[in-house]
């Protein structure tokens, strides 16, 4: 019933609950939700007043009623929610005018904790918390689920999924932005809207934090991105401190006028938040009641988003970085098999720095658990970059796992014309949101003609429409076949691009480099083809952003086709300024020893390569590398070398090692098996820079570090030690409250792996503490841990 009205009729929410309860005697620090049970009459009366003022949707007094925030043991959560819903119902019966449409909105607010990776709350744990409230509220008879005052897109995703997967009720969402349109956790309007639209909420908007006037520009911006009905629930102005109390400075009359402006600007649902009263709502409704509802803007933008950032695929070409893909990359293959994501993260950052707008993430390898690996890769990547990701996999389980925990609206590669593929992939897009890449192949293979490929694209678009997936969320990949096996391949692809753009009006994606397979000097062909494809309507090329030639094609195309205002990008890349920063003159005849001692990474890398022409790797390591590291380490202990220098030397040594190791494996020299050391920041602690510093140093000294990360369960540490037969574990903790976890971990280790030693470190620790909790060694600084490890494991 409510669903039919959304967007067709102007609807009104209620106003603030908290302030009214306080007027009735709610104490500071008392849970408002408790009043559903302890003061039911007062709660019902407030609801009645709002219905009487004309509100259509009144929210239950359950803002903080979730397992994390509501720690009161007096009443059960279930009871609180049930009563809350019943009270709104009674308020409607007593207060709503005859024939007026009245709805009970289950109010869901934030948990008050930050989700991983920025905080410590697991996404799925947040989901479970919201699920519980959704179930109670739905059972109790709410008419819709209203998720509000959210300032984190990740948390909102958990809440919306919980609502959609555990209830059939309409779902409306409002988020809290600041005046500039930013969420507290860094997101913006475009990315929030992309996410919510993808999750198919029934209406979205803004609440709290701002007064009506401040919300106007945000409302206008939201309407630029979506045609969903928009909700505005502002505060009664901005808070002022008066006599130690917080007062809101906009009175009912002023509020009403301002809200009328918002409805004229396109709001489809209006209400109030902090500081608003039934009077505010009454006057607002009076001022707005006769206003016409603005037609939803027809928004056909193709947008993907990540935490904090949205990218539009449209008239300005977009670069999708292709490098995170194990095909032909033995190092990446090895890293993924070992579940070492550093390589993935480094490639991500490199591509971002080189100008990629979106990152393709593909971890497809036989004999790994692709769902687990892809999921982890996405999690880790989205913790260090806010570029949107393209989830690239043929494994449906992996696709779903990654899409579920993705913070934003992803690009999904891919669906194709085979019925089986469409049946599997399109439901995922409908459920989690995303822009799906449609490959123009089907059960009969890849059509040889452009018209054939166009036909498949059309079919996929149609099928997607059946799932409620709009055209703007389907992009076509008309496929690039290599010219060396079919001479007209390039022409076919180029024609198909045109047909799809004009005939279907959708955006396009293409993996460009396949065109030149089998021919020499591939970059020459690839970059030319890239330009031709851009000219024929390619919206997003999947390319290597580290390729000078490909990027040249990109920048030149944009500059020539008026897609680079004032040639700003082009000049920044190629102008005099870019060339002016010549690298500092290289010292001639610098030794590797000196390069490492001085922490010169580039030089260390270069010189190692040169030394290899005349010497064996082991010789270089023993004569240059280790002595240099030793000197630096001793200097650190003596207080003449400081942490940044120590680390720069370590990084230089690492660069040198990479060169030497590559040489050794090329010559079939297997490395000596390295001693393994486990490093972890204990459960409850998320500080990890100290641990990471120790890791770099230990690796320098020839140890294999199993880095379990931060906030690690004791069981996980012990299991790994047992499974991999590790004889040294390093634990780090930065807080007094987490030293307890250290003690637990050590005890567990003693029981299960008595031959394993434990060294501990971290600002909060000292000798006494370390002894108290049963550690074998207390490392007061990074080098101490290295010396201990060496003594323990190397000098036998």
């Amino acid at each position: 019933m409510l669903k039919e009205l959304l967007g067709k009729e102007l609807l009104f929410f209620d106003g603030a609950m908290g302030t009214l309860l306080q007027e009735q005697g709610l104490q500071a620090g008392e849970y408002p939700e408790n009043w559903n049970i302890s003061h039911p009459e007062q709660v019902i009366e407030i609801h009645r007043r709002y219905f009487a003022a004309g509100s259509n949707i009144v929210l239950t007094n359950t803002f903080g009623a979730n397992r994390i925030k509501y720690e009161n043991q007096e009443y059960s959560l279930r009871e609180v929610v049930y009563q809350a819903v019943a009270h709104v119902k009674e308020g409607a019966e007593k207060g709503a005018a005859q024939g007026r449409k009245s709805f009970i909105g289950l109010d869901i607010g934030p948990t008050g904790q930050l989700l991983k990776p920025l905080g410590s709350l697991d996404f799925e744990a947040a989901y479970e918390v919201f699920k519980e409230v959704v179930r109670y509220g739905t059972e109790a008879g709410a008419d819709l689920i209203h998720i509000e005052t959210m300032s984190d897109t990740y948390e909102v995703k958990a809440a919306v999924l919980a609502a959609k997967e555990n209830s059939d009720l309409p779902v409306t969402v409002t988020m809290m932005f600041d005046e500039k349109g930013n969420l507290l956790t860094g997101g913006d309007v475009a990315s929030a809207v992309a996410l919510l639209e993808g999750l198919r909420v029934d209406a979205l908007g803004i609440n709290c934090g701002l007064g009506p006037a401040q919300m106007q520009p945000l409302l206008i911006e939201i309407r630029r991105y979506t045609d969903l009905p928009v909700i505005v629930n502002p505060n009664a102005g901005l808070p002022q401190q008066r006599n130690g109390q917080t007062v809101y400075d906009v009175d009912p009359a002023e509020f009403a006028g301002a809200m009328a402006e918002l409805v004229k600007a396109g709001a489809a649902l209006a209400g109030g938040c902090c500081g608003t009263t039934p009077d505010h709502i009454k006057m607002m409704i009076k001022a707005c009641r006769e206003l016409p509802l603005l037609r939803p803007a027809d928004r056909q933008r193709t947008v993907v988003s990540a935490y904090g950032k949205a990218v539009e695929i449209g008239s300005i070409p977009v670069i999708i970085g292709e490098r995170i893909n194990p095909t032909g990359k033995s190092k990446l293959k090895a890293a993924l098999k070992e579940q070492n994501y550093d390589y993935v993260l480094k490639e991500g950052i490199k591509q971002q720095d080189a100008g990629a707008h979106i990152l393709d993430v593909n971890t497809g390898l036989p004999d790994i658990d692709e769902a687990a690996v892809l999921r982890e890769a996405v999690c880790q990547l989205q913790s260090i970059t806010s570029l949107p990701l393209q989830i690239d996999t043929a494994d449906i389980g992996a696709m779903e796992a990654a899409m579920r925990i993705y913070n934003g609206k992803p690009m999904v590669n891919s669906v194709n014309g085979k019925q089986k593929s469409m049946d599997a992939v399109l439901p995922l897009i409908r459920k989690y949101g995303g822009v799906v890449v449609a490959l123009t192949l089907d059960e009969n293979g890849i059509p040889e003609t452009a018209e054939g490929r166009y036909a498949i694209a059309a079919r996929i678009v149609n099928e997607a429409a059946g799932y409620g997936i709009a055209r703007k969320d389907v992009v076509a990949d008309v496929l690039t076949m290599t010219v060396s096996s079919a001479a007209e391949s390039a022409k076919v692809t180029l024609k198909a691009l045109e047909l799809v753009r004009e005939g279907l009006g959708i955006q396009t994606v293409l993996g460009v480099s396949n065109i030149s397979f089998g021919l020499p000097d591939r970059p020459v062909l690839n970059s030319a083809f890239y330009t031709m494809a851009l000219q024929n309507g390619l919206s997003a090329g999947i390319i290597n952003p580290l390729s000078v030639e490909m990027m040249a094609s990109y920048y030149a195309y944009c500059a020539l086709m008026e897609k680079d205002v004032n040639f700003e990008q082009y000049i920044r890349q190629y102008g005099q300024g870019a060339k002016a920063e010549a690298p500092p003159a290289q010292e001639q005849n610098m030794t590797l020893y000196t390069a490492i001692e001085k922490g010169l990474k580039e030089e260390a890398y270069r010189i190692s390569g040169e030394l290899l022409k005349e010497h064996q790797p082991l010789y270089i390591i023993n004569t240059h590398l280790i002595p240099a590291l030793d000197v630096v380490g001793k200097g650190f202990e003596a207080g003449t070398v400081f942490l940044p220098q120590l680390l720069m030397s370590a990084e230089a040594a690492k660069a040198a090692f990479e060169v030497l190791q590559e040489n050794m494996s090329e010559h079939g020299q297997t490395e000596q098996a390295k001693e393994k050391v486990i490093l972890a920041t204990v459960k409850g602690d998320i500080h990890d820079i100290g641990k990471n510093i120790v890791k770099v140093l230990l690796e320098n000294y020839g140890f294999e570090v199993l880095d379990l990360g931060k906030d690690v369960d004791p069981e996980m540490i012990v299991q790994t030690a047992v499974d991999q037969d590790v004889r040294l574990v390093g634990l780090s903790a930065l807080m007094t409250t987490t030293v307890g976890s250290m003690e637990t971990t050590i005890k567990l280790l003693r029981d299960s792996k008595p031959d394993c030693k434990v060294m501990v470190g971290g600002a909060v620790l000292n000798r006494e503490y370390a002894d108290m909790i049963g550690a074998d060694f207390y490392g007061k600084d990074a080098m101490q841990s290295v010396y201990y490890a060496q003594k323990l494991l190397h000098d036998k």
């Binding site: 500071a28 620090g29 934030p110 008050g112 904790q113 930050l114 990776p117 920025l118 905080g119 410590s120 709350l121 005052t149 300032s151 984190d152 809290m176 930013n182 507290l184 956790t185 860094g186 709290c208 130690g244 904090g308 550093d342 993260l345 480094k346 950052i349 490199k350 913790s383 260090i384 970059t385 806010s386 001085k598 922490g599 207080g639 400081f642 942490l643 940044p644 220098q645 680390l647 720069m648 370590a650 990084e651 459960k683 409850g684 602690d685 998320i686 500080h687 820079i689 990471n692 510093i693 770099v696 807080m735 007094t736 409250t737 987490t738 976890s741």
Partner: protein, 190 residues
């Protein structure tokens, strides 16, 4: 040497030593990069203060047991409580830097700590102007974790300031502030 540099070097363990050129460059770069992502937010309230005995004080309805804090707030009639943060984007930058450059990340961490202190100084200035201008003195700021002032009090502080909602600062189950570059503190007002 300017204060910012000096403080950062202190965090890095340089003591009175001169800084080498490479580290200096890392410090400059780090501050520059931080500046482009830092989103400062803070919130504070001023309460009337009652000291019960040498280990118990009341900030209106908020009671705190800590000898060290009581000592710090001796002779004060009011106290300000604040929470501040450099935002999640700061954490993200440090995390990203750690992937490709541990040395720079360590330096950036120290720079962020300095920056955090600068924000706290700024807040203190504002509180000083708020407190009646009769030459009232502010005590040195005192945070949970100092002396015997338990970390657990951060929970109450964030609650009374509505910090999660107003500035996005939350507390994990093990009493760690998130985003990590965040601070809560008391400032006694004599």
């Amino acid at each position: 040497m300017d204060l910012r540099l000096r403080e950062t070097l202190r965090y890095l363990g340089y003591g009175k030593h001169a800084v080498d050129e490479q580290t200096y460059r890392l410090i400059s770069e780090s501050f520059r990069e931080l500046e482009s992502v830092v989103r400062e937010r803070f919130i504070y309230r001023i309460f009337n203060l009652k000291i019960r005995d040498e280990e118990l004080l009341w900030l209106e309805s908020f009671s705190i047991r800590s000898r060290n804090l009581v000592k710090n707030m001796k002779d004060c009639r009011q106290a300000a409580v604040f929470a501040a943060t450099l935002g999640t984007t700061t954490d993200q930058l440090i995390r990203r830097t750690m992937v490709s450059n541990v040395a720079k990340a360590a330096v950036m961490q120290a720079c962020a700590a300095t920056r955090m202190e600068e924000l706290c100084d700024k807040i203190e200035l504002e509180i000083r102007e708020q407190a009646e201008p009769d030459g009232r003195i502010l005590r040195p700021r005192f945070s949970p974790g100092y002396g015997d002032l338990a970390l657990e009090y951060q929970k109450e502080i964030l609650n009374i300031l509505a910090a999660p909602k107003k500035i996005g600062v939350t507390l994990t189950d093990s009493f760690m502030l998130t985003p990590t570059k965040s601070v809560t503190a008391f400032i006694g007002i004599k």
